[in-house]
């Protein structure tokens, strides 16, 4: 889970789930606690699903929140 996707790609991460920033990858403190939680819960879920996904090449997974 990374914010700088191009860096993650270059260093060879095979499964990449985008986060929202460098200092707070999974929860923007300018948003409500509830919004932060929704985002974090969603993206961690995407990462878990990614672990079960069969991929043939480096893949950036899609997030909805």
């Amino acid at each position: 889970m990374a914010n700088l996707i191009p860096v993650a790609k270059t260093v060879g991460s095979n499964k990449i789930v985008p986060t929202i920033s460098i200092p707070y990858p999974l929860g923007n403190p300018d948003t409500s606690k509830e919004q932060q939680w929704k985002l974090r819960y969603h993206r961690v879920g995407v990462a878990l699903d990614a672990l079960t996904t069969d991929i043939k090449e480096q893949t950036v997974f899609t997030v909805k929140i």
Partner: protein, 348 residues
């Protein structure tokens, strides 16, 4: 006199440190920070403007940053564009690469930067940008600026350019056909190489093939509901007393911390010691980097079997790829021993 423009981050642009890393791009007439030295060393051009942008702004709002900066440049006359030197600063290296590539594509001028070999920006952009082999830290500022200025002068003067190795920039993967001074035919040279190879002597190939460092893709987890999942991070989340004394930058140490009795990481018990970003958000809620709270809920809901009892931590700023690889291997020994099935690694 020809004209040059230099790109800097918030630090070298004298805006401020990490607390200003979200600084939106500006263009300033004249010389800021290292621009003075560059201007002094450049014989064939004058540095007319300095562009400054926060590293996090570029990292998180890349399209907006690039668009704004290209907008600044539209009505400027310039013959060459410089960025950095970025030394070993990863986000700065990324920013220099992004903007150099965009400027080259839009305006067709030569673009030059300088980075330490361990800067990820090198791998990402060496094909698009002349990136000179620079120092590890700003202590090499003068030397690195002299190098890029010298090459800039050569380009502006339309002088004959030597191969990448001789000029001192990272090879772009471009092959040129050249006549050798020696006039030794290729058939003789290749046999010489072969003999050296057979004798176990070192020889220099004329056709280097770049090596890509890739790890095989792990096979997917079949039944997540029975899987043990571990959390790893490079955001420097540690107990507040940092018991393993992990370095805040250029880390060589890592730690693992027992979370088996915790629902979430509490502020005041955990914090970040990462020196590469403003720690306020992660100190207030460490779960924004180490999402234990979310993983626990997935455990309760039965989506995963269980959360591995430790989380693993180090700091990813200025950390060399060699050290990072070693630490990763050391961590994975523990993870394998504990039969962990999958890992979520959060990188900052």
């Amino acid at each position: 006199m020809k004209k040059a423009i230099l790109y800097l981050n918030q630090f070298f642009g004298q805006i401020g440190g990490e607390d200003k890393a979200d600084f939106a791009p500006v263009i300033k007439e004249g010389l800021v920070g290292p621009a003075t030295e560059l201007d002094k060393k450049l014989n064939n051009a004058q540095v007319t403007h300095t562009i400054i942008c926060g590293d996090n702004f570029m990292g998180s709002n890349q399209d907006e940053a690039v668009e704004t900066i290209l907008g600044f440049l539209e009505d400027k006359e310039f013959d060459i564009f410089f960025a950095g030197p970025a030394f070993q600063a990863g986000r700065y290296g990324n920013a220099c690469g992004v903007i150099c590539k965009a400027v080259k594509e839009k305006f067709g001028v030569p673009v030059i930067s300088s980075m330490h070999i361990e800067n990820p920006g090198v791998e990402m952009f060496k094909k698009d940008v002349y990136i000179f082999k620079g120092g590890h830290s700003a202590a090499k500022m003068r030397k690195d600026i002299k190098t890029i200025a010298k090459f800039g002068d050569k380009l502006l003067n339309n002088e004959n350019l030597l191969p990448a190795e001789d000029e001192g920039y990272f090879p772009r993967g471009i092959r040129h056909q050249v006549w050798l001074d020696s006039n030794t035919p290729a058939s003789d040279r290749v046999v010489d190489m072969l003999i050296k190879k057979l004798n176990g002597e070192t020889f220099e190939t004329e056709l280097p093939i770049p090596k890509a460092d890739r790890v095989p893709i792990a096979s997917p987890i079949k039944d997540l509901s029975k899987a043990t999942i571990a959390l790893v991070n490079t955001g420097g989340i540690v107990p507040v007393d940092n018991p393993d004394r992990i370095q805040s930058a250029s880390a060589t140490r890592w730690g693992r911390y027992d979370i088996s009795s915790m629902e979430r990481l509490k502020s005041g018990e955990f914090k970040t010691i990462h020196a590469g970003f403003d720690p306020a958000a992660a100190d207030a809620d460490p779960n924004v980097i180490l999402p234990l709270d979310a993983l626990r809920v997935y455990e309760k809901e039965g989506k995963i079997g269980k959360v591995h009892e430790y989380f693993y931590s180090t700091v990813g700023t200025g950390t060399t790829q060699a050290e990072a690889a070693r630490m990763g291997k050391e961590m994975s020994e523990y993870l394998k021993e504990a039969n962990v099935d999958g890992v979520i690694l959060v990188s900052t």
